[in-house]
């Protein structure tokens, strides 16, 4: 077969077939197209305002690495006027997160934007390894997902961000749409395809990659030779969520535009007023003050379960009287308030970098966290980086189940792309921060 020339510039040889549109383009045109599409998305949906401080949720995986690269590139090229920084979360998973954090630290240097890291140990007093040691490898992703979502917000508040940008790509969004249909979760179905979530809150989350295909992100990272970390979470093999992702990959193979179509469908859904009424009103957790749909937020419930040695609390289906979460100890609230006071103290001392992780919930309130941010100067709080990108509407299933993602590059795509890609997709296969929360 004669080599085709790129359909964009008509001069150089086409290097790849874009997974999204099947257009055959050269490398340079692919970069341009990809960047311009993200730019278009950002401009058309008015994602950012000049002068905003934007936290890029960075796990070190392919999505967030490409996001960091694209955001810095576009910010410079088009003068968004954004104050960018990387925010990572350290879940405390040995053999996985420590390595990926190294990647993020290198990114910090490469892109010249600062990095903040927040750790579960600091926020909750538990590392994921400790949690898994207690509860086993089942349901551990529930903890990780719920905690990460909150940790990301807390870390961003600490660092004084106005917005969090996550690396959720089109595949992730489509997958979440499907999962919410399958679960009958109408409220989440309504908002999971929004490009901005929590618009009214002080800390909206945005998904600049909402229309970007995972495969294209992998290709971009590969051809740009970006430095990203591609090891699957050590606990991921035990995670669920794979079936929907597999279906999405099947759809993509059958018709590449299907992913965008799923997102478009979700955007077009309108809900009956009856189901709108049933939406739980956002409220604040009575223990930690974090936004929650229940009297006590999920993170507090899970944490109490951990601290009281009842790891099933909040995981298995329970419903108590008066709509309370069953099994919550009535006295815990007081304890928690007392803890909050001590947490403030801890803040002061914690500024020095030594946080004694009290056994019980030193799970402080947002206010406390905010104080922490202001008093003990951001610079000092060793940025907790939330390493992976939880999503605010997150389902808390699992952060790393997305691992299989890029593995879906079909054979023909690889063939089209030449030998180079095989390695790339294999690498991408392991990456796992794609999980939509």
């Amino acid at each position: 077969m004669a080599p085709r020339s790129c359909i964009k510039c008509q001069s150089s040889k086409a290097m790849l077939k874009r997974p999204k549109t099947q257009e055959q383009v050269c490398r340079g045109c692919f970069f341009t197209l990809f960047e311009e599409e993200v730019h278009e998305t950002i401009v058309q949906t008015k994602l950012f305002k000049p002068g905003e401080r934007v936290a890029i949720a960075a796990s070190g995986g392919k999505d967030s690495t490409v996001l960091a690269h694209i955001m810095t590139t576009l910010n410079a090229r088009y003068g968004y006027g954004l104050d960018l920084f990387l925010l990572s979360i350290d879940e405390g998973i040995a053999g996985y997160r420590d390595d990926s954090l190294e990647t993020v630290k290198r990114n910090e240097l490469q892109y010249g934007i600062p990095l903040k890291v927040v750790s579960y140990k600091d926020l909750y007093g538990w590392t994921m390894d400790e949690i898994v040691a207690q509860i086993g490898t089942k349901n551990n992703c529930t903890f990780c997902g719920v905690f990460r979502r909150q940790a990301l917000d807390r870390g961003a508040v600490l660092a004084g961000a106005n917005k969090i940008a996550t690396g959720h790509n089109a595949d992730d969004v489509a997958e979440t749409v499907l999962l919410n249909i399958l679960r009958g979760d109408v409220p989440r179905l309504g908002r999971c395809a929004n490009i901005i979530t929590g618009e009214d809150s002080s800390l909206p989350r945005v998904k600049p990659f909402k229309y970007a295909y995972e495969k294209e992100i992998v290709l971009y990272a590969y051809y740009k030779k970006l430095d990203y970390f591609s090891t699957e979470c050590v606990y991921a093999p035990f995670a669920a969520r794979g079936f929907a992702r597999e279906f999405i990959k099947d759809l993509e193979a059958a018709r590449p535009m299907a992913i965008i179509d799923v997102i478009r469908s979700a955007e077009d859904f309108t809900f009956t007023s009856a189901s709108e009424d049933k939406l739980p009103q956002p409220r604040t957790c009575e223990r930690c003050g974090y936004i929650s749909s229940q009297p006590v937020c999920k993170a507090c419930v899970l944490l109490e379960g951990l601290n009281r040695g009842l790891p099933r609390l909040g995981v298995s289906r329970t419903r108590g009287r008066r709509g309370e979460k069953a099994g919550l100890h009535p006295d815990v609230e007081r304890v928690a308030t007392a803890q909050a006071v001590s947490a403030v103290k801890w803040t002061a001392s914690g500024a020095g970098g030594s946080k004694e992780a009290q056994g019980n919930s030193n799970h402080d309130t947002v206010e406390v966290a905010a104080q922490l941010g202001s008093s003990s100067s951001v610079a000092h709080v060793p940025a907790v980086v939330v390493s992976s990108t939880g999503q605010s509407e997150g389902d808390g299933v699992c952060a790393s189940a997305g691992g299989a993602s890029a593995a879906g590059l079909p054979e023909e795509a690889r063939a089209d792309l030449g030998p180079g890609l095989a390695g790339c997709s294999a690498a991408g296969a392991a990456d796992n921060d794609t999980v939509l929360g």
Binding site: R4, I7, K8, K20, T21, Q22, E23, V177, L178, N180, I181, L182, R183, G184, D185, V186, L189, Y211, F243, F247, D250, L251, A253, A254, R255, P256, M257, A258, I260, D261, V262, R264, S265, A266, E267, D268, F269, T270, F271, T272, A274, S275
Partner: protein, 624 residues
């Protein structure tokens, strides 16, 4: 086809330990003959007689003693023979009562009224057989004893659209398929003058006479008869439906119908239509798009034939299983906006055009129930071979197997999906109130009689005129257009400055001379080759719904801009446009990219490209 052809027998029969009660008492093997022939009974003590076992024949092997038998959990008396849901063993009578109860929701919702004329869309699969059996059970006929209550006096016709040739079968095989379907319907109890069975080849969708909007209802019998409308028999005159007798008289296959020359001409025409259908389907490269196109054609033909017969309600056998899979597949096709209209009990979107309302009475019944229902009555499905060999490339097939796979592990999946879909806003044409009803509050019966005697169209027409405003529909799939799509269409049509273009149902008026020129294929080609139609003419043509794509004739690069505008001003939904009519071509070149970008800009959508040759092949009567 939603007749369960993807269902796996083993899976459905649940041959677990709980299926044990399917054996006859005492472990005597019941003969298969007994099982299938006596299957029609409704005695609640079905299995206790030992030999008169209603169990599926192939489940004999699973039980060997009475100890394993279970009582039906509903009536607690008869022995259970099926396990439709986990831990819910049922006897045949209770299974049938459950199914028919769901179908009878038609009556409690007053969707099926005395003197209605209903058509059953009969594919020959499990669900349509179940539907037909239940409907026949609901019907009051002359022989129904007076004391049997709750029955309705409505007339019924069984319609089968024979699409065997579209699945690659030969003409002979297609005819055999048609006969098999008819036999299946007769096994369900249809046939005879009161429930005629009609088999219509799908290629009839190209018959202008058949699909023309019925301007004058008086014309109907003559038209239908003169054109030799339906290939079918057993259509007897039914009181109030004079059309039937003549339809039968005109049928092609009856011995004395017409001269030989007439028949030859008919045959030739028919072959031409078949060829056109093949060409149309082949012009769609995408398997999913092809399946969808087939489905749209089938539904359109069904509605048109029903309207010609004077039917005012079409009953479809889509089960909960099928609808749940459709929720997923339509989502994956970007049809999220139109989706809620697909899964409702009632759909009157075509009533304004003089076509019947569509009811989906099986939407609460699972495929599993339907399969058991048929099995226990000894009804065998008639199915076409599934032709999309590469089912991995069909989104419909993928969605079906996805839902089925989930359903195995989590039996609530189906209904969770449907509940999600139910939370979506349906359309005005789905509201139960939208169904045209007799106007006079008193003397309902009289009014209904008058209405149906006249045929379906009229009473409705004036009702619909005063009814709620229906959304604008896609020309091909009849999906409501989103506002974004409507704006894009209007915007694309505007530069052409066509006065007559009014997106909406009142489009009829302005037909320019140029548009009239384009009415027939041949003329279109001629016009295209000699002198290209001017831009206004083209826009007028698409506005008229002729669905000729001038760009298919005028394919030069210089015309790209023109093409963009013309394509986009045709009133199609984005999904039909992108997935059926204009599937991307591999080497489309720059025009592709420009067009893709343009669509993206105007419709918030990107990626689909260039026209294929599908456009000019569509039946001409797909118009607003």
């Amino acid at each position: 086809m939603n007749c369960g052809m993807n269902e796996d027998e083993q899976e459905l029969l649940d041959p677990g330990p709980t299926a044990a009660p399917t054996i006859c008492r005492g472990g005597k093997p019941c003969s298969e003959v007994t099982c299938s022939e006596k299957g029609g009974g409704n005695s609640s003590s079905a299995c206790s007689s030992g030999w008169n076992c209603k169990a599926p024949a192939n489940s004999r092997a699973f039980g060997d003693s009475d100890a394993q038998s279970l009582a039906c959990m509903k009536c607690k008396a008869a022995r259970a023979v099926v396990l439709v849901r986990q831990r819910e063993p049922l006897c045949q009578a209770c299974l049938e009562a459950g199914v028919s109860g769901k179908v009878r929701a038609l009556k409690s919702n007053r969707l099926l009224l005395p003197n209605d004329y209903a058509a059953v869309a009969f594919s020959g699969g499990f669900s349509s057989q179940t539907l037909l059996c239940n409907l026949l059970g609901m019907r009051k006929t002359a022989t129904t004893p007076r004391k049997e209550r709750g029955k309705i006096e409505f007339s019924l016709v069984v319609l089968h659209i024979n699409e065997a040739t579209a699945h690659g079968l030969s003409v002979d095989a297609a005819a055999a398929h048609g006969r098999a379907v008819k036999a299946a319907a007769q096994r369900c109890g249809a046939g005879g003058p009161s429930a005629a069975v009609l088999v219509v080849p799908l290629s009839d969708v190209f018959r202008e006479d058949l699909l023309e909007r019925r301007e004058d209802k008086v014309q109907l019998p003559r038209n239908a008869a003169a054109s030799g409308a339906f290939q079918g028999s057993g259509v007897g005159p039914y009181d109030g439906k004079p059309a039937f007798g003549e339809v039968e008289a005109g049928q092609r296959e009856s011995a004395g119908a017409g001269a030989a020359g007439e028949m030859n001409k008919n045959d030739a025409e028919r072959q031409e239509r078949e060829a056109r259908l093949r060409a149309l389907l082949q012009s769609v490269p995408d398997p999913t798009g092809r399946e969808d196109l087939l489905r749209h054609l089938r539904n359109r033909l069904l509605a048109a034939v029903a309207a010609q017969l004077g039917v005012n309600k079409v009953l479809r056998g889509d089960t909960a299983t099928v609808l749940a899979a459709r929720v997923i597949s339509e989502t994956a096709k970007g049809r999220g906006y139109a989706l809620p209209g697909e899964v409702q009990l009632l759909d009157v979107r075509e009533v304004q055009r003089g076509q019947p309302a569509v009811l989906q009475p099986m939407r609460e019944v699972t495929m599993k129930e339907a399969v058991f229902f048929c099995r226990l009555r000894g009804l065998q499905p008639v199915q076409l071979p599934y032709t999309e060999a590469s089912s991995r490339r069909s989104i419909n097939a993928l969605a079906t197997s996805f839902v089925d796979g989930l359903q195995v592990n989590l039996p609530s999946t189906l209904f969770t999906i449907l509940r999600t879909a139910a939370a979506l806003n349906a359309f005005p044409f789905n509201a139960l109130e939208a169904l045209p009803r007799p106007i006079a509050p008193e003397g309902i019966v009289r009014a209904v009689e008058a209405g149906t005697r006249d045929g379906c169209g009229e009473g409705k027409g004036d009702q619909a005129a005063t009814g709620p405003a229906f959304p604008t529909l896609c020309v091909l799939c009849r999906a409501p257009l989103t506002r974004r799509e409507q704006e894009a269409i209007t915007a694309a049509a505007a530069p052409a400055a066509v006065q007559s273009l009014r997106i909406g149902s009142e489009l009829r008026g302005g037909v320019s001379a140029a548009a009239e020129l384009l009415q027939r294929d041949v003329e279109l080609v001629v016009v295209g080759q000699r002198n290209r139609p001017s831009a206004p003419a083209r826009a007028a043509a698409s506005a008229e719904g002729e669905q000729r794509e001038p760009a298919a004739v005028v394919s030069e690069e210089e015309e790209v801009e023109e093409r963009d505008r013309d394509d986009l001003s045709a009133p199609f939904c984005t999904s039909c446009r992108g997935q059926i009519l204009f599937t991307p071509e591999q080497s489309a070149g720059i025009a592709t990219a420009r067009r893709g970008a343009r669509v993206a800009r105007e419709q918030g959508y990107s990626g689909y490209a260039v026209g294929s040759s599908t456009f000019p092949l569509l039946p001409a009567h797909f118009r607003l």
